[in-house]
Amino acid sequence: MIARQVLAALLLAAIAGCGPSRPPRDLLHQVSLPDLARATDRVQAQLRAQYASLTEKRQTPATPPAELATAFGEMGRLFMAAEYRDAAEACLSNAQMLAPSDARWPYYLGHLHKARGDAVKSAAAFEQARALSPDDQATLVWLGNGRPEAAEPLFTHALSRDPRSVAALFGLGRAALARSDYTQAAQQLERALSLDPRAAVLQYPLAMAYRGLGETDKADAHMRARGPGEIRPPDPLMLDLESLLESPVAYEVRGARALDERDWKRAAAFFRKGIELAPAEPSMHHKLGTALYMDGDAPAAAAEFEQALRLSPHFAKAHYSLGIMHGASGRTRPAIEHLTAAVRADPTYVEARLRLADVLRSSARTAAALSQYEQAAKLDPRLPDAPFGHAMALVDLRRYQEARDRLREGVSTFSDNLAFRHALIRLLAAAPDDRVRDGHEAMRMMQDLLAREPRRYDVDEMMAMTFAELGQFGEAMTWQRDAMAGAERAGLKDVARRMADTLSRYQRRQPCRTPWRDDDVNQR
């Protein structure tokens, strides 16, 4: 295919200036519609309509080359959007042959070859585009991304045209990393991050740069802040292509992207379009409901979730979403019904099990909650919520020894999760069960905690409990008063008032035997 393009280009060059030229139609690639049976009706209609338009122009000898080029180009774009890549390549190549000065066609070919993983052809096509449009940001960045060995001049050029180009800075940073120039890499990536602080994807290469410089604290900090994502240059051509296809999946993808960008209204609009094309698809209704809920329209969201269930009564995600909504509104019974249905439909649905466990626990069905927490912990041991919830449910059931053991495991497994430490300290300092309390262990943990955390009213309260358990009531009273003052400053007057009861106990030289105040929902 490249050979034909070279021939065509040479021939066109040879006859330049020789008078009015005819388009070299004999050299054009054959283009026919592939079997579209697997595509949706709407996509088939799109492709057929576009093909009919192309055919008409092809069959009209008087069609100017530029117009024929556009017809091939539009056909190629639509094929590309629908992933008919061979047909797309033929069309876009024809468009390029007919309109060799139009940078769009080699640009799209560059992306087409990139999608196939053919980096060599992709770079060649982007180079052709660059020759026609040397300052185009998107071309420079994509070419740089695909040619690491020659990337830096390209990114430098891109940056010269747009000094605020995060994509160019990202590229320069990565290029510097590749040649182990960590200083340069850090500089470029820090600049990029300053321009787009939300671009979590910058954090990892920045961490690698600081690692190379031996600055491990900075490397650590950036590593923790890393996240998924993509840094794309402003790319109107590809954005336009990505909006072409009218299929449910295409709208779902656009909607999901909008959700990631937190553009709820746009996401909802895309999902509605998807529903127009696939009204019986429950997942589309569920996604629309999610976008509506995030946009603050709970009733409309609930209606979509209900519709999803009408279409698919065992659709776990819809049950989950309704369960969450009911739970948030205090409607415990329907919350439990829906969350139970979600778990029944998909026994591996960890989030549903966790939320079901929480609702069961808050409605005093603690034994049932225990079972759900256990199963959630088995399904995904990475989640601290399950073992923590399990431990708190054991506390509710006054099974303090087991609760203490679960919390100890949690401290060991989730060493960065302070909730386990807080809860364990409270039990060790104030559990009603003599076999559980251990003031010395509580104090060791408190010392460690104070080295990690700033003082707050709840931390001060825990320290007071610990001192009281060790019989040091003077210290206990001091810390309790600090806790009360802290609660007052935080505007928690009710909390401060309840803390006064405990202070009275300390004044009577009595230790605390209620690890949590009744109002302490945040800590349990």
Partner: protein, 588 residues
């Protein structure tokens, strides 16, 4: 004026066109034109397809029925093991079955034989002239290996230290542990050993992580998946397709400690491995930080990979992120499938090669000796040529025995080619294999043509087991193809150079000492580091022997072995061009 093309002659790469009355002949350099000189002899291919001649008749059945069930695209793995201790490698291959409630009559490609994993005994014959004849016999029935689940892969290792290699089969569903009875038969000891590990497992590895002389077992789990909750996925144009992994949640993997009494204990949480996991597809064990304790590298599909560094107290710590071995160069979690660890740059530490999805390119993590890695696939010339492919089984192997480790990877897509599907090509996922020769300067060059026609054959390849099947001193490959034939690739080039072959066995157990590191000190002063291992690649088990290419050196090398328990021994003047068994305790 215009130029009208009259003709094009592909033989001479010239075209004639008329401009007015003049005829122009343009000679143009087309790709492929004029490059072939008449009479240039073709060199012998490095690998030859010996499947049929060797009597290996097996076609994998994945049960596909048009429902695009995710498990259909993942198996099969293959295993090389000398189950009968006759000195040559036998072959075990995984089989599938129908998924869910569908019957075999619903299958798009009905199976031609009973659906059962197969064991093929190697009946290698070497005549007086040294001519090798490879012949395999299906001994599944007599072996009593009854693996009828939806098989994924296999791991091998002598878990009970009786000198006979055992077999662990991973499945969609409960796994199976088959104990070798040392009499040609196996017994399913899954339940008494407590190694069922239900769920969806793909790769597993026997590894003595606590250095007590008994092989423990790591089982990599993939996704939380059930047929009942199968999710339907579609391509952009609306056609059905296989789902990507992120639509399902990953399943925790399991580390089993060998209790030395035929049972195992799940120590995943105790080892500190429970709170971090991903959808595991590849497992490779090696001592990455050179402290004498085996570590475990996990390749996860679409989530960060893990480097579990052995803390020497029964626990592991995942250092992959800071070690630079978790993510791609841009910080993206890649779709890692196959993995292997070995010293490709001969600097004394084990590096990593990981196969990835189309558009991602392989990862080459180069170790600095302290288990800190730098991704260098682009610099090494591996990234660009691998971008178009989705790689699965892969391994480091010295194809030509020049002392530098090359890499071979088997490929096959996981999502439909839309146009192939439009042409009604079912399971249109075929891709060719790739072989990259190590030039010895930190770079690789693809040996596409030299590799042989068998590498160019597009198949949906998954597992690949590497080992010297004909015992001629070079590494051969067995490839498992999804819904396709088992393929035997015999190496025809490595034997032309000198080599040293080693089987490392324990003192009392006489089992293969997986994890032992070997230093091959050559006459020129250089040292090659190799490792006895069966794990690595994808869902497959490799030849545990060590084979090191010596190039043109005919001097018997000195061999230094670091046993898994940390002790070191040395043997001088080890014979070349043959296999030697080195028994623990018999060296200096």
């Amino acid at each position: 004026m215009s130029c009208v093309v009259e003709s094009f002659d592909p033989a001479t790469c010239s075209t004639k066109c008329t401009v007015g009355a003049a005829v122009l002949t343009l000679m143009l350099a087309f790709s492929g034109c004029g490059n072939r000189t008449a009479g240039t002899p073709r060199a012998e291919p490095w690998f030859v397809d010996a499947t049929r001649q060797a009597g290996l008749t097996f076609t994998h059945f994945n049960g596909m029925s048009g429902d695009f069930l995710y498990p259909e695209i993942m198996p099969p793995g293959v295993a090389l093991l000398d189950y009968d201790n006759d000195g040559d490698l036998d072959i075990f291959v995984i089989q599938g079955r129908m998924l869910g409630k569908r019957s075999v009559s619903d299958a798009l490609f009905p199976p031609g034989a009973a659906l059962r994993a197969r064991l093929f005994r190697n009946d290698l014959a070497i005549d007086d002239r040294g001519t090798r004849t490879l012949r395999f016999t299906d001994v599944t029935e007599t072996s009593r290996i009854d693996a009828r689940g939806y098989g994924m892969g296999a791991a091998t290792g002598d878990f009970n230290n009786d000198g006979c290699v055992d077999l662990y089969v991973t499945n969609l569903g409960a796994n199976q542990l088959f104990r070798n009875n040392c009499d040609g038969t196996f017994t399913d000891v899954t339940k008494p050993s407590h190694t069922e590990s239900p769920g969806w497992s793909v790769s597993a590895a026997f590894v003595d992580y606590d250095r007590d002389g008994w092989l423990d077992l790591f089982v990599g789990h993939y996704l939380n998946y059930s047929i009942e909750a199968n999710i339907r996925c579609f391509g952009l144009a609306g056609g059905r397709d296989y789902c990507p992994p992120h639509v399902y949640k990953p399943q925790p993997s399991t580390l089993y400690r060998n209790n030395r009494d035929g049972t195992f204990t799940d120590v995943t949480a105790a080892a500190g491995m429970a709170a971090e996991f991903g959808p595991t597809l590849g497992v490779a064990t090696a001592d990455f930080n050179n402290d004498g304790w085996i570590d475990i590298y996990i390749a996860n599909d679409g989530q960060p990979n893990q480097l579990w560094i052995n803390q020497r107290d029964g626990r592991f710590t995942n250092t992959a992120l800071f070690a630079g071995a978790a993510l791609g160069a841009e910080g993206e979690a890649k779709s890692s499938m196959g993995v292997d660890a070995a010293d490709f740059d001969n600097d004394g530490d084990d590096d990593l090669i990981i196969t990835e999805l189309t558009g991602q390119g392989v990862d080459l993590y180069v170790n600095n000796g302290s288990a800190v890695f730098e991704e260098q696939s682009a610099r090494a010339g591996l990234r660009l040529p691998t971008l178009p492919f989705t790689g699965f089984g892969a391994a480091w192997l010295d194809v030509d025995n020049d002392g530098w480790l090359d890499v071979l990877m088997v490929n096959g897509a996981v999502t439909q080619n839309v146009e192939a599907a439009a042409r009604h090509e079912t399971f249109a996922l075929q891709q060719r294999k790739q072989l990259f020769r190590n030039t010895g300067r930190g770079r690789f060059e693809e040996a596409a043509e030299r590799g042989g026609a068998v590498l160019q054959q597009p198949e949906v390849s998954r597992g690949a087991a590497f080992g010297d099947i004909d015992n001629d001193g070079d590494i051969d490959v067995v490839v498992g193809n999804a819904s396709g034939p088992l393929r035997l690739l015999v190496n025809h080039v490595g034997q032309a150079r000198h080599w040293v072959g080693l089987r490392l066995v324990g003192a009392e157990t006489r089992r293969d000492m997986l994890g032992a590191r070997v230093a091959v000190a050559r006459a020129d002063g250089s040292t090659l580091w190799r490792r006895a291992r069966a794990d690595g690649s994808y869902a497959s088990a490799n030849d545990p022997r060590v084979l090191a290419g010596l190039g043109d050196s005919a001097t018997p090398p000195t061999i230094r072995v670091q046993w898994p328990d940390g002790r070191t021994e040395e043997w001088r003047g080890v014979a070349i061009d043959r296999y030697t068994t080195l028994e623990e305790g018999t060296g200096k």
